[in-house]
Each structure stands twice: as C-alpha cells, then as structure tokens.
Symmetry: D2
Subunit: 142 residues, 4 copies
C-alpha cells in the first residue's frame, strides 16, 4: 500500500553535528519523530499536542526503528524530509522516512508505531488499541 | 552560606561534542541538571525519581541559569563535577556547579530553582511552596 | 545600543519536552544557538556553515550565557523567537533572545560570544580576534 | 560468532525522558554509541578519543541501525547495558546492544559500523578501510 505522505524542509543545526562535522546519529530519530507528528497533523487535521486527547489514547510509541545512513548531512545542509505511511494494521502502523540532501538520498528510516491507550484494569500499563475507522481512512489517502 | 556539596566524575561523550570538537553548550545544562539531582539524592537520601512523591511536589524547576565557559572540554575528557548548595530561601534555592577538566576550571554554572507544587485552586498551575524544615536542615549541612 | 534583530517562528517538538510536559532547559540553548546563527545569516548575508570560511575565523564560541524562565513552553507550542544584538566590542558581542509563547514572554536569554580564530603561534589554541569593520557596520544596523 | 563483550551500568536522567515519562527514542542511540566506544576501549585498550589517531582512521561511522523497544525505561531507572561484537568483516563490523531494566530486556539494538579513513586521492571523502589484524584478533576474543 501507499498511504498519506507529508514533506517538510529544514536546515541542519550546529548543535546537531558531531566532531566529524556530520549529523550525530541520535538526531536523525528526532527528525523522524517530528516527521511522523507532521504526517498525522496533515492527515488528520489535529495538532500534535491534541492527538492524544482527540482520540483517547496515550500516544503513538515506537515498537521498532531501522535507519540506513547513505550519505552524510552537514551543518547548514537543507534537508528535504518525506514521511509516508507504508503499512496500516489493526493497532499499529509503519512510516517510512527519506531524507534528501543536495539531491541524494542521505538517510532512510523505517518506524513501526503502536496506537496506544492505557489498560482499563491497570491504567499505568500501556496497551495497543484498535485504530478508529476514520483515522485509518484518512491515513490511507495519498 | 555554604551548604551540601556533591561530586561526580564522568567522561565527555562523542555525541556531546560539536564540529569544533568541543562540548556543545546545550549539553552543559544536562550536566548541571544531573548534578543537582545527585546533590538532592545525596543530601536527602531520596532517589531522584521519588523526590516529587516523597515531598508532595511537582519538581524543582529552573528559574534562572548562568554559565561561564572558561576552557574547552573535549571528547573523552574526564570531568570532575562539583555541585554545591549556595543559597536557601523559603521556597527556592541556588546551586553552583564547577566542572574541572585536566586540572583547570572549564565551566562554572549557577542555577536558581523553585520548590514547586501545584496550585490547590487551579491544579494545572505550578506554584512555589515552602521547603520543609528537615529538607532545609539536610541541605544546610556541608 | 540596539543592533540587528532577527525573528523566527518554530514549534516545540515532543522530544524537546521532559516528564513535566515542558521544554527541558538544555533545549533552550539549542534554540538560542540557532537564533544567533540566524541573526548572523540575516545581517551578513552569509550562510551559517560558511561564516568561518568567509571571515577566516574558527567560529563564535560562547563566553557566558544567562537565561530566565518566566513561563512554561509545552509540546506543540508556537514560539516566536527574537534575537537582537545588544552589545558590540572589539572582539566580542552580546545577543539577547526573547521567546514569546501564547502572547507572553516565556524565556529571556543573554549570550556573550567571541569572534574567534586560531592562534598564529599555536594553531590548536582558540584566540579572540578583532571583528572586521564591515561586520560591525552590518550588525549595528537595526 | 560471538566476540568481545562489554558491560556498563548507568541511570536514566530527567532530561532523557519525554512527556510520557519514558526515555525519548533518540536518547537510546546515544546510549548505543557510548556502548560501542566502551567496547572498543575495553577490547583494544585505547581511549575513545585516541582511537582515530592510534589507527590512522577518521572514525567508525554508522551504516545501519535497528532498535526494538520491548519495555519502557523511566527517569531514575538503572540500566544494565551489554554491548557485544556479533560480526566482523574486512572493513565493517556489527555490535548488538541489550538494555536490561528491572530484570527485563527493555531495548535491543543492532549497529553496523564501518572502519573508515579518508580517501587518498580525495581526502574529504570517507572510505571503508580494512581493519588491522591485531584489532580483529582482539575483537574476536570473548
């Protein structure tokens, strides 16, 4: 399937880079995270901070992440970040991130996240919940 | 006054440093923060994550921070970090941080923090609360 | 004096916030840092990553930082960040940062930075250098 | 194969956690990174900051990372982090990270890294280099 896609452009900051002059690996997951929130905001029309309240969930925690580093990104580089929904299941989904720098694919990321609420019997526990029909419908649209 | 003092030693990590090869300024406030939690743990015998619960507060948020950068700290440098309580008021306190690297004072920091609880009438608001007598007594001791 | 001023707007990200639901203190210095690079880019017309090369310097390292936290900033909050040059000396300068959130001043920051090159006799040492006339002239302009 | 293994214990800091009260995903890659430097220090007897100089390389950049999040880690949690070399090739290697929290496996990570030097003809380019015999021998040892 190919689902909803969002795109954002940002610049690599000084504090994101390590002594080799390239983006420190941990920062890319901040980029992915923001990309996924942006995707949901665009698909559902709900602001990131209101997503949990709007749907009665705790959040969309990560289950699994993969990243491949193909070319370096450096201080000041303009990054074109595309986030696309690539799988939708009953209570989880997958997002693919592609970061283009100077016209080449620099980083590829793949997140699996859970639509998560609290357990009725034990509220401090996090539990996967079925995604609502209308959320699924909007995320499927390209 | 000179109050409770704690000391910890740690190494500068690769991901803490910027393209100039020195610790990125934002990381020093993470060091200060951890130093203050360590100070409270040692003074009060309460683990950081249990401080709020033990005293019925929300936390110890920052009001004001100052830092002076005197010498660079680099990847792998061993940092000797001393945190000392230097002022105690009814519902706020000040902590001084000194980071020694290779025998010289590299960074000096100064935090003013508030002993904060939620407002009875409006629980979502943060309000300064008087510090308990026994907390004050333990923090005064050198 | 009142010197060059720049303004940018950004949103607080999920990963910037701590368990109290507010921006973790260390992140504000990342905001300040990016604000200062933005100020220089706008004043001098030189991209951040090209500043050092264009003027034969190593960078603009921090000497001293102060911050006051007046109101919390939370996940998703839109921040209006104003950075203004407030002092210019032979080889150092000061930048004032103001972060407005929901119409109130949430954070005030003050950076003192050095125009820094390498020492001729000992290239691994960092040394303050006089700021070029045209850089000074452009930074003075409002 | 099972190669060199190192272990370290650390506590989750306040600034590592997000508004859900759990470690923000980007921080785990900082943990992994520090684990791999620790592994090399223990296996080779060379301090992290001296690794590049000792072997004439630029560093050990990441090619590919995977992480699975099985249980949450929270502020103050003690983490037992085990890093083990699980594959060694001519000019790359793989490290497996396991983070245990309260007796359960909380996070599993897998890094593929390159033994990297600069290209003779074009020094600004990063190139995989064959790993020296004695480095390989020491990393193979359990």
């Amino acid at each position: 399937m190919t689902g909803f896609l969002s795109r954002r452009v940002f610049a690599v900051e000084w504090g994101h880079c390590d002594p080799a002059g390239i983006v420190f690996n941990g920062r890319f997951y901040e980029y992915f995270d923001w990309g996924t929130w942006t995707l949901f905001e665009k698909a559902l029309g709900v602001k990131p901070a209101e997503l949990a309240g709007a749907f009665g969930i705790i959040g969309i925690p990560l289950d699994d992440v993969r990243a491949r580093f193909l070319a370096p990104a450096r201080f000041g580089d303009e990054v074109e970040h595309t986030s696309q929904l690539v799988a939708l299941r009953r209570s989880s989904f997958e997002v693919e991130h592609r970061l283009m720098v100077r016209g080449v694919l620099a980083v590829e990321g793949h997140e699996t996240r859970v639509w998560a609420g609290s357990d009725g019997a034990e509220p401090s526990r996090i539990r996967a919940k079925p995604m609502p029909e209308d959320v699924v419908a909007r995320l499927r649209a390209c």
